[in-house]
Symmetry: C2
Subunit: 186 residues, 2 copies
Amino acid sequence: MVPRLTDARKELRRAQIAEAAVRCFGRNGLERTSIADITAESGLSAGSIYAHYRNKADLVQAAAREVLAKRAEVLGAYAASDTPPGPDELLARLIAAIDPVEARVGVQTWGEATTDPVIRDIVVDMTDRMRAMLHDCLTAWLVKVEHHEAAGAREHAAPIAHRVMSLYQAELLYTALRSPTEETAR
Amino acid sequence: MVPRLTDARKELRRAQIAEAAVRCFGRNGLERTSIADITAESGLSAGSIYAHYRNKADLVQAAAREVLAKRAEVLGAYAASDTPPGPDELLARLIAAIDPVEARVGVQTWGEATTDPVIRDIVVDMTDRMRAMLHDCLTAWLVKVEHHEAAGAREHAAPIAHRVMSLYQAELLYTALRSPTEETAR
DNA sequence: TCGCAAAAAGAATGGCGCTTCTGCTTGTAG
DNA sequence: CTACAAGCAGAAGCGCCATTCTTTTTGCGA
């Protein structure tokens, strides 16, 4: 038996395609982006794309996962901090880390999630995961900075985490709506 | 010269089509809804639809306007109240008034707004208008209920209005993500 | 270095969905 | 009540786009 692409190389191609797809989606939207657009952006051909992704829906899912995962990553960094930031500080940092292209694709996935169950599950899962991180971070803040009694800190933190998450998502929306076409002109 | 449809009748047809469109969009999404779907839902034919709307984009815009206007209407009622509700009460009432189908179409329009300038303007305009209403309502609340000094009340109310709006929009998103397909089974 | 299977390119295909076009139908003004 | 323009239905047209198929190229193991 002989040669496949090594796994690392295969992952590289998948990432290359997914990143090109995210750029296209950010520019033209999930549905208005054709496979031809992605071939142009990635420098690969249609045949190649279909060797790495079952179909377009599969690619959209990959793009959604990528964007959401990148956001969760940023959050994870703050959550692990020794001196956890309070709600206002936390929100400010999250907002500062928003990338316009990812915000647009993120909001697009929300729209898609309202009708596509697979995308919906991805979005809900990522949202829950981020809220949980926020929850951990704020619990630590309550205990370490605010000297809140440890027992009951989690219960106190829950509604705060919910609010921070909501305000963050709203800001994501505002960013996505701000300069939708100007961005691509640069 | 002779007969057109009377204006009232013409508006009726437009509304009939737009409402059918909103139902379809809520079920299948903006792009996955075909004109054929709308003909089936409205009981009219393709030719008829094109007699009332220039094209599908025009129809999507009408649907977006309808959904957003209906939301602004609900808000307007509370804003005009003699004893204006405070932020928590206001938010609770707004959330209680959310309709699942409209929430879904609303979130879909957000996604569309990220790439379509016309839809974007509609969404931004409606959002600004709603926030202004919230602002008025909360200013009145500060003055009448909290006995805040009238001067500076508007400045105080602004960030609160922003927060209430954000939390409301987040809740709209959560509603849209909750039960996307179950709703249609009923 | 060599061979072979996988990967990539790029053209071909097939279907779907917007839009338009052709007659019938209907409602309104005189 | 009549006539005629607009409304309306339904059938085609037309283009676009996801997907597949064929051929060429390339990377990996021996």
